[in-house]
Structure formats: C-alpha cells, structure tokens
Symmetry: C2
Subunit: 209 residues, 2 copies
Amino acid sequence: MNGSPETPDTHGYAKGIARRAAIVAVATEFFGRVGYRGATMLQIAAACGISRAGLLHHFPTKESLLEAVLTDRDRANRVRLPADHDGPDDGLVALRKLVEVVQLNSTVPAIINLYSVLSAEAGDPAHPAHDHFVRRYVASRADIQGSLEHARRHGHLAEGVDPATTAIELIALMDGLQVQWLLAPDVVDMAGVLRRRIELALTVPLDRG
Amino acid sequence: MNGSPETPDTHGYAKGIARRAAIVAVATEFFGRVGYRGATMLQIAAACGISRAGLLHHFPTKESLLEAVLTDRDRANRVRLPADHDGPDDGLVALRKLVEVVQLNSTVPAIINLYSVLSAEAGDPAHPAHDHFVRRYVASRADIQGSLEHARRHGHLAEGVDPATTAIELIALMDGLQVQWLLAPDVVDMAGVLRRRIELALTVPLDRG
C-alpha cells in the first residue's frame, strides 16, 4: 500500500482478514470446550454472530476451519532461532522459550486438551489433520534440533548429547506432560520437568541465555 | 474347586469368563481400528458372532466395555517390582521391562493410537474413561517411582535424580513418543529414546539388570 489512501477493496480485504481471525478465535475456544467432533459449524457461526452461509464463505468445511485453528496455534507456539542467530546464547534463548510456552499453555487446559486429542487422533492417516501434524512435527524437530546444534557450536551442550534424538525426546516429553497434567494438575509441573530435562543436556544454566 | 468334578454351574461360569475375554479381544481390535466413538455395540456383537442382547448381558454399556478393554490392556502393560523385591537388580529389571513393553507396543499401532486418543480425551473430566486414567497414572507413577527408589537403594541411580519427578518424566516420555511415532514411524525409535533416557539416570548399564 505504501501509504496510499485505502481503497474500498483493501478496506474489504482488511475486514475479511479481521472477520477470519475472529472466527478462528471463536472456533479455537469452541473446539477446546466441546471437542472437534462435538462442535458444529452452525453453533460456531451463531457464536460468531454470522449465518452458516457467512461462515462457509470463509471456511467451506469444518476440516478447513480446523486447519486454520491449528496453523494459528502453531504460529503462536513455534519457537525457533532468530533469523540472524549470531548471538552466542541464541540457542539457549530458544530452548528457554520452550519452557515459557509450556508455562503459558498451563493457563489454557481446554486448548491443551484439544491439542492432545487432535495430535493423537491424527496418528490415523485417515484423520483430516494427519498431514498437518506430520508436517508440524517435522518442523518442530528441525526447530529444536537447530537450537541444540547452535548450543553445541557455542560449547553449551553436554558431551554425548545428540541434537536430533534430543529434539525427538523433548517434543515427546512436552506432549506426554500435557496428557498427564490434564489428569493430575496438582502433581505434574510441566514447565519444571521440561526445564530440568533441558538443563541435564546443557553445560551452562538455562537462564543464562 | 480343589479338584472336585466340574458342576454345571462352574462350567457355565468358565464359559462366561471365556466369552467375556473373547468380547474384550474383539472390542480392543475394533476400538483400535475405528476408534471408540466410531465403533457401535451392534458391530462388536456381530464380530463376536452373538446378538446385541448377548453382548449387553456381559457389558450393559459401551463405557463398561471400554473400561474392560483398558483394564485388560493395563494389566498386560503394567511393570512393577516383584512382590519379593529383594534382589539387588530388581529395580533395574523393572526399568528394563518398560523398554521391552514399549518395544512390543511398536508392533500394534492401532492399539497405541487408541490408547493415545483415549488418554488424551480422558483429560476432560466428563469423559467416561477419566477416572480410569486418573487411577492408572497414579498407579504408573507409584510403580516406576518404586523401581527407581529400589535402584537408588542399591547405588544404581545417578546423583541428583529424583525418583518422583523422574517417574513423571518417563511416563510423559512414553506417552509422547507414541503420538510422535504414529506420525513418523521411520524417524522415531520409541524404545531407543526411552532406553537412553533411563540410562542417563543410572550409574550402571540397564542391561545388567
């Protein structure tokens, strides 16, 4: 736009973006509360204050709405090295952010529940979110492996720690902690367990980053 | 029975037990293939070669059948110290058995999928398997903590390893590995990752046990 006055078209476009974001927010809340299978497009449309046809204009199927909810959530949760990762502690910072995301997630149990159920259901190749989760885990492993390799280059990784295997392990730990925490929130300290596991792989304190 | 001849009553009882076990086996396979929600009592009855009424005689509700499937599976998968755990390596043996159970589970993806989905769904207190999973995790944590404490008493646990927290971590790791393995079976070596994590907590090789 380069500062040019807003045309009716760009105004409509911006409105469309805002409407889409509002629908995704409502759907996230809805899926978290009554489950993906339990929620209907009609209920979600009503909660957004629009007609079913209006909702279908933005998301023609419930699957496409699910995909948008997941992509939105992944974007918010994704932790990776900054593009210009030339600071010696950038790997540590990215690893510490993982702990912060887990800490933040412990304030939204319904979303955690949704995510746990969907990632488990998606193990079935016929599930509408299967490909999404396959791609998501490939990206997560690459992100965390990258952070660990960065830490290694700066002497922050303990001897014998393999970045690829440790990335798989940390992701599995985060996923499993969510399931267990939902069943025993007073016993399971998700962020604390993850933090100690990461520190076990380091030669320096995590908080140094 | 004390070797007394079989009466018609005990014969009927034994037949009932066998029939019940056959139903649970069929239901396990069914839930694993089409999901708990996707399976109907009518389909399960047909697959067992009995009427719906015959099935309801043994399991009045789908929830009660689910409970039996889960209890059966937990019994097969439960790993704990032998009752007379006075061998110095009994803790190590129990920890090694965890790895063996995970190895065995990697031959039954449909069951793993079922278990992952149900344990995640059960995070919702309104889910019919919620109480089952709450109890199951309490028992699992106690079992593994017991094995780790046994290892500690015999000098097999590394310094600074807390048995209670490590039990939570190992269970979370096993659960999360299942989800990730279903999505990337060629990348995720469930048993290998678990084995290395356990060995990190020990002062002796796991295979010594």
